[in-house]
């Protein structure tokens, strides 16, 4: 009973915060907005902790909390209910934990904004939907959260809504996500048609009876993955995420790095039985993931906007997570979700602290030497950079390494590409770090005058996240390094079904400890080397990236312009749809109108002819009938009116 209450409270508390700050916008005093907004997530976090300890104490028994019957039609029953198990608990910890820190940070970051209360309310609402997403016990509840977080993402990207390009970015995010959502929705329909239920427990139980390579499961998993492409920004639906940086920086940290964008990974891990049943889907996923990771990382190499670099980095890291999933390293993928939540939230919040100090400047070409002025931000950012680059013993090393080790067993070429991406990651991150914090300050005198370290509400979350970025990897230290893969052990029951249907995919580590150590050495060495190259370029030689107007070689120009993907979509999709809309409106409507009119005329004329031919049998009868009956009804209606009333009085 108590656990059920906790389940209800966890999403409800942030929702209450949303209602309070939302309805009370401009009425709640500014000093109260922050506490109201932070209370929900923090209390939720405590509730999650309590739930977690209950769960551990109860022998890791998953359970469901049924709230009510939401939609019931014919044999379709969608319960509004929550499922608590290893996977939802991990996500709950991240969402409420990192979420609380970012709410706290937002107080410092947004306090002076005109829409402060509204902002905090939206963050709370986001948390509510995100919690539904990870707690739901069936695909439709997940879909509620899935679309709900999309709404909040839209509201927050376009938060400064007088700026048209921000609004366009918000709209783009929503629409691109909706493309994915259609796939997700069709996937849900197909799941119901196939399994007769949308409830995870029913679906996965019947899925274990299916054979590997089943066509329907292939379709289901591909459709669901289309949803993941939208939400988790994979090729071809990733271009909204860099644009989403228009939102205030805490939003980028919470929604577009730590939580929402990892929903796709959560969904695949949740559905691991289905994915394990469909190796072809996994192959496709692997290809897309690898391509996304490399494409985004390469774009990141040349970006000069501090947030854009981080955005492309996020896209790239999400690619790594899917890469892990594609070789059935489900724990590896989730592990990277966890560590990425720590260090990427840290990096974004650090970037926010920089932007805050630089009077809203985001171009790293105008920064430099900030470590003197922002010591806490610098040190924490440095930790985040090391962590994401995969340099031991920080968090990113362990999670990325686990993914790459599994990829190695699966496909050596993919592994090499993964290491290449990892080299790029390390390079663009250290480039970012060096250009921002090292060398001489390159901004205006006025900016220099205003430079200041951020207040404690902002630096405290940085410090906490920095600690997590350092030690986060310890959650799942591999056996080769003397650990005992605690996370993998914890999550193992989630894959029971998968192991049953396709034991081969879970062959376990066939490689020896020395081989694993060698792989680790290579990836860590490559990362370190990239960092050194970046050091030589941007610190030793003090290079500053060329201004936008500079001449660039063709390859550099293509990468600098993000491979012209947005332009490509514009020409291939946006403009044709617009042209179609214009064409249908101006010509199509006219034609339809004309054709319908002409057909009506034709029918009248031809039927007239026919009537003559058939000596007026059916047509005229019907017509006479119609007329006479209409007349009778009309007459009777009026004549008998009083008698009708008379009947009624009886």
């Amino acid at each position: 009973m108590q656990a059920e209450l906790l389940c209800i409270l966890i999403p409800l508390l942030p929702l209450l915060g949303f209602v309070a700050n939302g309805l009370g916008f401009r009425r709640v005093p500014a000093s109260l907005v922050g506490p109201l907004a932070v209370a929900g997530p923090v209390l939720s976090f405590l509730a999650v902790l309590s739930l977690f300890s209950n769960f551990r104490a109860g022998g890791n028994q998953p359970f469901k909390a049924l709230l009510f019957d939401w939609i019931s039609v014919a044999d379709l029953h969608i319960n509004f209910s929550f499922q608590i198990d290893q996977l939802s608990l991990i996500m709950l910890l991240v969402v409420t934990g990192v979420g609380s820190l970012i709410h706290l940070y937002s107080i410092g970051y947004m306090k002076h904004d005109e829409g402060y209360g509204k902002f905090m309310a939206f963050l709370n609402l986001f948390l509510f939907f995100m919690l539904l997403l990870v707690m739901g016990s069936n695909y439709v509840i997940m879909f509620i959260g899935w679309e709900g977080v999309g709404l909040c993402s839209y509201l927050l990207i376009g938060f400064w809504n007088t700026n048209t390009s921000y609004n366009n970015a918000a709209r783009k995010a929503f629409v691109m996500n909706r493309i994915g959502d259609l796939g997700f929705l069709l996937g849900i329909f197909l799941i119901f048609t196939t399994f007769g239920s949308v409830e995870y427990s029913d679906v996965f139980a019947s899925a274990t009876g299916m054979t590997i390579g089943d066509k329907t499961v292939l379709a289901i998993t591909l459709l669901l993955f289309v949803g993941a492409m939208g939400k988790s920004a994979q090729i071809p639906l990733y271009t909204w995420l860099p644009d989403a940086m228009a939102g205030p920086t805490p939003v980028s940290a919470l929604i577009h790095a730590a939580t929402m964008v990892t929903a796709g990974i959560y969904m695949v891990v949740r559905s691991n039985v289905l994915y394990t049943l469909s190796p072809l889907t996994l192959e496709i996923m692997g290809g897309i993931a690898m391509a996304t990771a490399l494409l985004a990382a390469s774009i990141g190499l040349l970006q000069n906007d501090i947030k854009k670099v981080l955005a492309y980095s996020t896209v790239s890291q999400l690619g790594y997570m899917f890469l892990g999933l594609s070789v059935a390293a489900y724990t590896g993928g989730m592990f990277h979700v966890l560590t990425h939540a720590f260090f990427k939230a840290l990096l974004f919040l650090g970037a926010g602290s920089v932007i805050h100090a630089m009077s809203d400047e985001q171009d790293i070409r105008n920064m430099g030497g900030l470590r003197k002025y922002l010591p806490i931000t610098f040190w924490t950012f440095l930790i985040g950079t090391i962590a994401i680059s995969g340099i031991p013993p920080f968090a990113g090393f362990f999670s990325k390494d686990e993914i790459l080790a599994h990829v190695w067993e699966h496909n050596k070429v993919l592994w090499a590409l993964g290491v290449l991406g990892s080299a790029m990651t390390s390079f663009y991150m250290f480039r970012l770090l060096f250009l921002t914090f090292f060398g001489e300050f390159r901004g205006t005198a006025e900016q220099k005058h205003h430079l200041h370290e951020s207040p404690l509400t902002m630096t405290l979350p940085l410090m906490v996240l920095a600690v997590l970025s350092v030690v986060g990897g310890l959650l799942n230290v591999p056996h080769a390094l003397g650990g005992h893969s605690a996370l993998a052990e914890f999550m193992a029951p989630l894959y029971a079904g998968s192991q049953q249907v396709n034991p081969a995919a879970f062959g376990g580590h066939t490689m020896g400890a020395s081989e694993e150590l060698m792989l680790m050495g290579i990836s860590a060495g490559v990362a370190l080397l990239s960092a050194i190259v970046a050091y030589v370029m941007y610190v030793r030689n003090a290079a500053v990236p060329a201004p936008d107007s500079a001449e660039r070689s063709l390859p550099a120009k293509v990468v600098y312009n993000k491979y012209y993907i947005d332009e490509f979509y514009e020409v291939l999709i946006v403009r044709p749809v617009r042209a179609l809309g214009d064409g249908l409106y101006s010509v199509g409507e006219f034609v339809v109108d004309g054709v319908v009119g002409a057909v009506a005329w034709l029918v009248r004329t031809v039927s007239g002819q026919l009537r003559l031919v058939q000596n007026g049998s059916i047509g005229s009868y019907v017509f006479a009938m119609v007329l006479s009956l209409a007349l009778i009804i009309a007459l009777r209606f009026f004549i008998n009116w009083t008698s009708v009333l008379g009947y009624l009085n009886i």
Binding site: L76, V140, L182, V626
Partner: protein, 481 residues
């Protein structure tokens, strides 16, 4: 008997309204509409979820022809009774901001319209249905023709021609069915259900009904009367047309086509479903490029109703249940959206999107309520639009996977045009027309708040509504082998 009260009370009230003048007419009309709502609410609260008709009346009417004056409320009608009862007072109230001349006539026509609509949704005799179906056209025609925009005369004429043409087809079908009934003939709809028509005959009847109802909704390609009529009509009439009247078409499909001509549906249903789905995409793509708010909403309505029709043609419980709940949801959302367009026009003196913008700066209340209605319209989960759209798409998907996927484009395209409209009106920098834009007045709030309340109620706990309709739908679908 309560059904009869639901039909006649607005008619009587309308007649009284005619005798009053100016403000008192307007207030009386509102009072009457509210009473009618209370009556409808009472009826719904007393409704027992069975397939049976309830609160009925049944008296001989035209004895020689075996036509009876009979009606009642079953699960197919109930949500439409709610819709009509709920929306009319709000539509009346929404008109308060405008000073329509000859206002007594204006409000009386709205109430006459309500009477006719209640009649359509509760008639159990085919000819009584036809009578109300035609009668409903008259008040709204006059509303459009007398209070409409500059271009109203040709536009309303086209509207009239289209609907009359459709009605005649339906009448032919009804008369035909009437003559097929055994013995002394009967025009009870329930007796039509028992007919055993040849497949060929079913085909003809199917098309007659389909075109009649397709014009009313409208379904592609019978829709070209609609955008102009919606734009040119005074907004209360637009609300009546889009909010309630088009549901007569969807209702007709469910009430007549499904049970009477299942074989016709077998043969031609796919074609009708394809036309409906074409309408979804066609209307949405056009809506994306519209500059006039009202025209944009008109095309969106056209797209949405296409999905309802496709859902019905899917002949699944999901599709029909979805259509029933979506009729209510769509009515609520579209009336809200047209009202927002109206009040923006009222203040900014334009509905052109490129001349609007930045309204949100001064209007927190409008922003929130408009956004919720917009989200309902794009079927965000936990709003009313989602439940219907989910069930409809599920129905169409079960009927044919590819058609379902195509129909599903509505969730993408709907987001495109709705978010565009919202952004161009509410966000960005204020234009000259929106510099000083007043937030909602109290009476405007009273129009939008009840609508938004229903957006959430239906979205959060749709069971309240689905439970009412389910037994009747299940029963109806038994006629389809």
């Amino acid at each position: 008997m309560l059904t009869l009260a639901l039909i006649f009370f607005p008619a009587v009230a309308a007649t009284v309204t005619l005798l009053l003048n100016g403000d008192s007419a307007k207030r009386f009309a509102l009072g009457a509409a509210l009473l009618e709502f209370l009556l409808a609410a009472y009826v719904i609260s007393q409704f027992i979820a069975t397939p049976e008709f309830q609160f009925g009346f049944d008296v001989p009417w035209i004895n020689v022809l075996g036509i009876r004056f009979s009606g009642g409320i079953d699960g197919i009608s109930i949500l439409l009774v709610l819709l009509t009862g709920l929306l009319v007072p709000l539509i009346v109230l929404s008109a308060f901001g405008q000073n329509y001349n000859r206002s007594a006539t204006f409000y009386a026509l709205i109430l006459y319209m309500q009477a006719a609509l209640m009649g359509v949704f509760t008639a159990r005799d085919a000819f009584l249905f036809y009578l109300f179906f035609e009668a409903a056209l008259i008040p709204v025609y006059f509303l459009a023709a007398l209070w409409g925009g500059a271009n109203r005369i040709p536009v309303t004429f086209k509207f009239f021609i289209y609907t009359i043409f459709g009605s005649l087809l339906m009448l032919v079908a009804l008369v035909y069915l009437y003559y097929q009934t055994p013995g002394l003939h009967s025009s009870a709809i329930a007796d039509f259900y028992k007919l055993n028509l040849t497949p060929a005959a079913q085909g003809w009847v199917f098309w007659a009904f389909f075109i009649a109802f397709a014009i009313k909704m409208p379904v592609f390609p019978f829709h070209t009367w609609q955008p102009d009529t919606y734009v040119e009509s005074p907004t209360p009439a637009t609300m009546l047309l889009a909010g309630i009247m088009l549901k007569m078409g969807v209702y007709g499909l469910i009430r007549f086509i499904l049970p009477i001509v299942p074989a016709g549906l077998d043969t031609w249903g796919m074609m009708a479903a394809v036309l409906s789905v074409i309408g979804i995409v066609y209307g949405s793509v056009i809506a994306i490029r519209q500059r006039d708010m009202k025209r944009l909403i008109a095309y969106s309505s056209f797209a949405h109703v296409g999905l309802m029709a496709a859902g019905v043609f899917s002949q699944t419980t999901y599709g029909v249940q979805g259509a029933l709940i979506q009729m209510l949801a769509h009515g609520i959302n579209v009336v809200g959206l047209f009202f927002v367009a109206e009040l923006i026009f009222d203040r900014a003196k334009t509905r052109q999107l490129d001349q609007l913008g930045g309204i949100t700066r001064t209007t927190p209340k409008l922003t929130v309520l408009f956004m919720i209605l917009m989200l309902g319209s794009v079927a965000l989960p936990l709003t009313n639009g989602f439940v219907g759209e989910f069930l409809l798409l599920k129905g169409v998907f079960d009927y044919n996977n590819y058609l379902g996927a195509l129909a599903g484009l509505t969730i993408i395209l709907g987001a495109v045009y709705m978010l565009r409209m919202f952004q161009k009106t509410m966000f960005g920098k204020p234009s000259n027309n929106t510099q000083s834009f007043a937030d909602l007045s109290t009476s405007e709030l009273w129009v939008l708040v009840p609508l938004v309340f229903f957006v959430f109620w239906m979205g959060l706990y749709p069971a309240s509504f689905l439970k009412l309709t389910e037994p009747a739908v299940t029963n109806l679908l038994r006629y389809i082998k």
